[in-house]
Symmetry: D2
Subunit: 325 residues, 4 copies
């Protein structure tokens, strides 16, 4: 057909993160402004394999901006790592007339995107991960909202910690990456931060808590990244045996960190990334990811994204330390 519209497949994959919905909205509306159309793929790569498609027009994405989660649902798909299922996916994309694909997700999902690109599919990735562990972008979708959720939770814990003169060990998400923990430490005024990147001993933690007690603080907050080698429960047990001035309590924030209405920063980032991804795709680019680079929105190659490891600004560790005085 001569005037068939450029057609974009769109999926969300991996762990969900707040901001995926405003990003979906931006992709759909930016596509409309390029006279392109969008087909939503349900359940991530599983839906691509199974052909669970539905058209997404500008009216279908009204009122979703303020909602957490993803209207396209998401799933982790192990079998998509296999060639057989990738071939199935490509076949489905072709039947549906998709000219390109936008994948919103974390590192594993972007690996899948890269695999498709290598087989000739035009693919643009968008980084979605509350952990902020994706190389190449200053911020991924979900980080700012998760950070605010963590901060609000710790503000609440501080109320009760102060009233009782207690130390709280707070576990936050971040399997391989302590970004959330370090920044949460700074913005929540924690006495100490424990991350995979900066291992500490039980004795060091105990000393930091005791110091806070001696300096006259009415509570101590220790933030521990999920992926740190010291586990909160073990740490609490050990500290209760020593005498550090405060009694100890544990809170594991868990999945509430993935939910909630996206913040303003999140919606803005998600929107800019969605707009950028559409522009890239309709202008013929592929195998790249939309990325926040300082104040501009750029594109980085997916091969680099999937091969390199993001590290945390060392200045932040220093800052967390200074601020806890």
């Amino acid at each position: 057909m001569a005037n068939k519209k450029f057609t974009i497949g769109l999926l969300t994959s991996g762990g969900d993160s707040p901001g995926m919905n405003p990003c979906i909205r931006a992709v759909v509306r930016a596509a409309a402004s390029h006279d392109a159309q969008v087909i939503g793929i349900m359940d991530g790569y599983e839906g691509l394999i199974n052909g669970e498609f539905r058209p997404l027009g500008p009216r279908d994405v009204g009122g979703i901006m303020q909602r957490g989660g993803t209207i396209l649902q998401t799933r982790r798909s192990k079998r998509f790592m296999e060639k057989t299922y990738q071939r199935e996916a490509i076949r489905n994309m072709n039947s549906a007339g998709m000219d390109g694909l936008i994948v919103i997700g974390g590192e594993g999902s972007l690996k899948g995107a890269h695999a498709l690109a290598e087989q000739g599919i035009k693919v643009v990735g968008i980084p979605g991960s509350i952990d902020n562990d994706i190389w190449g972008t200053d911020m991924a979708i979900g980080v700012d909202t998760a950070m605010n959720t963590i901060m609000d939770a710790i503000d609440k814990l501080r109320d009760t910690a102060s009233s009782h003169g207690r130390a709280f060990l707070v576990e936050v998400m971040g399997r391989g990456c302590g970004y959330l923990a370090v920044l949460a430490g700074i913005v929540s005024g924690a006495e100490m931060v424990i991350t995979p990147e900066s291992p500490v001993t039980v004795e060091e933690v105990a000393k930091a808590v005791e110091d806070a007690y001696l300096r006259g603080k009415r509570h101590a907050i220790i933030i521990v990244a999920e992926g740190a080698s010291l586990k909160v429960v073990d740490l609490a047990r050990a500290m209760d045996e020593m005498d550090v001035g405060f009694t100890t309590r544990v809170t594991i924030l868990g999945h509430i960190q993935r939910g909630g209405s996206p913040t303003a920063f999140e919606r803005m980032l998600a929107t800019r990334m969605g707009v950028k991804a559409v522009e890239a795709l309709v202008s013929g680019q592929t195998d790249v990811m939309a990325a926040l680079q300082g104040r501009t929105m750029g594109l980085v190659p997916l091969t680099e994204v999937t091969n390199k490891t993001r590290s945390i600004n060392p200045e932040y560790f220093e800052m967390a330390h200074i601020l806890s005085r």
Copy 2:
């Protein structure tokens, strides 16, 4: 001294609950309107034993209404159960010229208040407990705020539960009392509620979750009171072994339930109770607790409060069930 002012001692005791600060404010300002004065006692009964007192005037309680926790700090005091220490406390109250005492706290703290009243001290209690497990009052201070905190957390979990098609087991506070769990179940649209008062088997839970799956729901939320015989972690393990349609995740809300800025209802309740307690004390009443009774604020005897057990309106269990359809 002929015109010595009526002097009220004020302490917060036991687990802290949001709303204690607006209650402190109300006691201080209501006292001023009765031309009485307030002495704040730090750290609950411990401060009464140790004589940690400080005067509290109307200006000292400005700007505390919106803050969680308690500016008087709180502590659990085991030794106050002993006569020796109660005598020490009474001696301190007399030295400081206190004509009466207001105690804001949970059941254990109100027992302590009753013990003092039996020894001739004029005491009025105010119920503070996020669990709402205190007999004689419709609501205790802290319940409404805790309920909203729980609800907000579950609203966040639902975002991620829906996006992934998952079941969430959410543990909320409530050692001997399922009030928070049942009401959270209703206001959060949970599929099932598990309380100390209404034991269920693992099989019943599994069936409820599977039913939700079969009826086409995109997630299932099960709320479990801390004091229920089934524990969330065991339940999750058991359900993963059965096949209930959804995969299962656990969240233990923990101490964030005790924090946060008090809600409007909370501030109103805390204020009315503070005003009532002062009125009672200056008019010579003792051994009673301020209590919300329908739409009026009344007084109930502390002996009854400390001997009777509050039960949950059975209509609420039914309602939680009907609403989950």
Copy 3:
């Protein structure tokens, strides 16, 4: 048809209030538990006149509990006051096989409900009004959420008022009724409250503000009900001419008071009222309104609701005054 299900028409009418959605959900699911079915009527009485109906099943009301507004939309309908249009409405109800009607709305909407009841239609009302101006119920749907929205806004204003040493005049909703203003005054720690029920002069306001200044307060908050005879803008102008210590700023909170995710109290109230209304209707009752009466949920005759005027507990005015010291 022998086994035709009992069919309930459901509409929301008048000004929207947060909590209408959880009430809709409760009506639909409670109906299902009585083996009845629900037909949603769009746009209030306008939709009843125009026959804009859609069936509402338990799955249709999933995920609406946390959303403000009303999925059935609402409108004020002047023409429904006329017999002609009421007849049209009744005709449509009969064609659709409705056995009864539930109306969620304010005083005007409940008058409409009563008019239908007088013509033989089985009708049960549910009070929805953020102003809390409906006779017969302690609380209407929307009040608790609006109160929290107002309180949060004033907590924000206090930040800036304190930093600058300013007086703020804050207009809140309440055309004929100062309920929101008085309670907001108590829970926000306002220096003064101005309502339709308790007129004051400019001089009295100026004196209260000056007193707060002299007592060493860092700001003054004056809450003014929309329906008070003194208008915020005029008052501000007058106060700027006098010298009251603080400079004056005006904030009109406006329609944000109608929005927002319903609070826990709101969802509970809306749910209980929805369940009660369905019970009443299927058991043959008519011309009544579900009402919170202390701790129980009761029914009051619509004739009384539409003829009597709610007054505010005078104790609250006194309390607002005492607390502002």
Copy 4:
């Protein structure tokens, strides 16, 4: 005295913005890590003229991070523009032994800082302004929190707008600068944005609203910057005379935009700026402002800051337009 500590004066000036408190905290604690000390100056430049000083140690800034406003209070000082009063200020600084000054504030306040620097005082500025109208920094302190407050308010308005099928005209802050309006437009999904930088006619607004109506939207949100030539009230009146499909309502958000607990982004930005300003001052720099430049924290000359005008990324106007489809 041989080993007198380096002493930093610290003031907040101009309109307050959320994030000033975490910035104060960061300055005090960063100073401690450089073995310097901080003297807090009350009420901005007025306090500098009047010598209202108080020492600020690490314990004095505990628990202020989550609070809006500024514990140092702020004021606009006209007389500080005069040489006489600047001389008075310098005299006070010298008596108090201040080696340098940190000023947190908007453009006017930074002009004052520059004036002092020209007279030999070592001064470092920190940009504080919810309008984001300060040249040289990507973001000023207060912007992110204000943006989230605006967004939350509009999310609430949308609830009621959707339920009634209405158009809302929302005035946000921004006297000379439409930054808040444009970004609010994007993150709130507004149909149109009206700023000082991009004037429109009443007819264009009416057309945009009517278009939204025709495209089947259930509401229309128009955001208007305070400094735009079209005023909301006039616009509303004009639109009510035309027939645009929706009826119109006006909301002026006002001073709530200045308050609220700082967001995570805000606290991080404020902290980094505070740390940077202290580093700059103790290392001998002067007449500069801490500035967010992409992902790094830099310094820009105050002469440029006070002479140049910030403009909005034109990409954002385009984006606001595309997204409203």
